[in-house]
Structure formats: C-alpha cells, structure tokens
Subunit: 194 residues, 2 copies
DNA sequence: CAACGTCTATCTATCGATAGAGAGAAGGAG
DNA sequence: CTCCTTCTCTCTATCGATAGATAGACGTTG
C-alpha cells in the first residue's frame, strides 16, 4: 500500500464520514493531495473499490481501538465502545463510517454494503461475547451509539451524544454538561465543522 | 399543493430514505411520474427547497403518528415511538428520513439541515414531556431507534431492529424472533428491497 | 529493460438549473 | 356567448459543471 493510496483512503474516509458515499469525488480527493483524478484510478480502479477498502480498514482499526484491556470486567466494555464512538464526533464532527454507510446502504454498490454488514456482524460478535453472551444487549448498545452520533450531528452539539449514551452505563454516570446548553437556538449543524 | 407536487414529494421522500440526499435526481423523479425534469423546478425551485419541504412534511406526519392516545400512561409512549420507527423499515426497508439526513447533515444545504435539527428538537421535546420530563431518556430512546434502523438495514433483517429496540421497554417484552435468524450468512443489504 | 506512478487528453453520462415557447383552464368584460 | 387576459403547468433546448472512467505517453527508479 503506497503512501499516496493511504492518503487517499484517509481523505475518502473523512469525506464519507462527513457527507456519505455520494458526498465526495475522485477529483476532490486528488486535488487535496496534488494529483489528477485519473491517477486515483491507478490506486483504486473504481470508487466502489476504494470505499470497500476504506470500510475494511475501518473495521480493523475499530477492533484495535476497542480491544479488551487486561483486567477488563463485565460492563467495562460499554465504556470502551462509547469512547470509541465519541472520538468520531469529538475530532471532526463526523459520523461513524459504518453508521453512515449503513444508513445509506440502500444506495451503495454491493461490495461496499457487504463490508458494512461485516462490520456490524463483527462488532456484535465481539461486544456480545464480552458482555457475557447477550447478543440483544450488543445490538442495543451499538444502535444507541450510532443513533447518538446522529443526534449530535443534527444538534451540532457533542453534548447530545453524551445525553443519549449516558444511560448505557447505569452506575458510574459521568457528570453531564448542563442540558441548558442544548436548549438555546443555534445555527444548525454547521457548528460542528467550525 | 398540487397533486404532482405531492407525488414528487412522495417519491423524493422514498428515495432519500433509501439512498440519502445525494442518492436521487430530479430526472429520476420526473421520469417516474411521466414529466420532464425541467417541470420539477416549477414545483420546487431547487433540490434543497424540495428536500426541506419533504422534511417539514415528515415532521408533521411523524407527530401525528405518535400523538398521545387517550389513556396513555407513563412508558407507553416508548412503544408508540418504537412502532412508528419500525414501520419505516417494515414497509420498504428505508431509514427514518431524519435519521438518514441527520447522518448526512454535514453535506447538506443549510436549509435542509435546519429542518432536520428542528425534527429532533421537536421529537425530544414531545418525548421528554410524555416521559415525565427526562430529556436524557428522550435522547437515549431516539438514538436507539435511529440506530436500530441502521442495524436492520446493514443486516438486511427487520429482526435486527427488534433486538436492538427490545430493551427500551423492560417489562412487557414482546416475543422476539429467534436469534438464529440473524446468524446465517445472507446476501448483504439487498434483501430488504426484495 | 521493466515496474510504478503520474500525466494529458478525452469520453460518455449525468447533474441541477435556466430561458422561453406553448397548451390549456379560469374567469371577468364586452 | 365570445373575446381577451391571466395563471398554471409542461414542454424543448440548452447551459455549465461535474461525475467516474479509459487510453496511452512520459519520466523515474530499481
């Protein structure tokens, strides 16, 4: 994997997390790293190939990010997952790649949709196992975290994520930002990109 | 509002719930109802205008769908919301419009993003009030339901929605489809559209 | 020489949008 | 009743921009 290809994947991932599969173009990525769009096809024959590769890498990195810590017990895993998802909106206000493409999956090339399906199967598998076998709980946790990202983006407030995800862990409830923050009338979803 | 404009909004809503804002074109909608794409601009000057109008109508209908029943008490409202969201994936395998556009909000025209933000503010307001004032709980419920739709689409299985949303109501747990259904290796997200 | 990576040049297809013409219904004025 | 105007809606034709993709030449590196 050449350095250029990695840069292209970085940019593609960032743009897909921001605006979805149809929200970026080869020309846009190429311009950002100073090459021509035709050259992008040398690294990724088609856009679907590129998106599938990005999704594959995303799953790998995700599983590394949520890898069990020595001494982890019981429900600690939920806090680990929550932190991983929160990082997504913290850093650049973007969605989880799989959440975005999962929503859009009805309009994706088949090979991309398959990678996304694989992401959720692997995530459910990992989470359910570490939660003691409850697949139902794993589904609920993942759903809440993906949805919490949507709310945070719609509100343009990271705090919305925290509110939505707070109930996932009952006891060690972290202090929440004041709800009043979410009640003033802000200027749409533009804010997160500032 | 002319009959043609309503048909256009119906189609636009369907396509946006399936593939997102960038996932459909005026030409596509026009062809489906037998007019030319130029004529669509007579009803909606720009694509952003159309999407904003669709989002506004979606909120109205949503609030009607979840309107309180006489005699509703306490946590009944969660089952009402769950049913409303489930209908989305039941009927045509599509997302909730606001969930889709909320995810994509980083790449939307400002007027569309504002309608989506308004949707969630109104939904949180309604839900929190009927839940006895807990905004945090309202956030969590909405997030879980939106995320449950994403999972159902990624899996290509409506049952995934039920698993993800099951824990929202503790007691009157409805019988779930067997988990085994979700463990066989299916053919991507294509299935829901069948 | 051979591979790799980028280039120029170009293709076909599609996008949202606009200008201006024309068909047809509605409705008031004579 | 007929004429004329106005409004609504769709049309043809076209614009400029952009999309993903391809063929083939060129230089660099090993």
């Amino acid at each position: 994997m050449s350095e250029t290809a990695e840069k292209l994947m970085d940019l593609a991932e960032e743009r897909m997390r921001e605006a979805g599969y149809h929200g970026f173009s080869f020309r846009e990525l190429a311009a950002k790293i100073g090459i021509k769009s035709a050259s992008v096809h040398h690294h990724f024959p088609t856009k679907a190939d590129m998106a599938a590769a990005v999704a594959r890498r995303y799953l790998e990195r995700f599983l590394e990010n949520v890898a069990p810590q020595p001494g982890e017990s019981g429900e600690d895993v939920i806090a680990v997952y929550r932190s991983a998802f929160r990082r997504s909106i913290e850093h650049d206000g973007g969605m989880c790649l799989s959440g975005m493409l999962g929503a859009e999956s009805g309009g994706l090339p088949v090979e991309v949709a398959e990678e996304i399906e694989n992401f959720f199967r692997k995530a459910v598998e990992d989470l359910a196992q570490r939660l003691g076998g409850s697949e139902e709980r794993a589904f609920a946790v993942l759903a809440t975290l993906e949805g919490a990202l949507i709310l945070a983006r719609a509100y343009g407030e990271v705090a919305a994520f925290d509110h939505a995800a707070a109930a996932l862990t009952d006891n060690d409830a972290p202090p929440l930002m004041p709800l009043a923050l979410l009640n003033r009338k802000p200027h749409a979803a533009e804010k997160l990109r500032a």
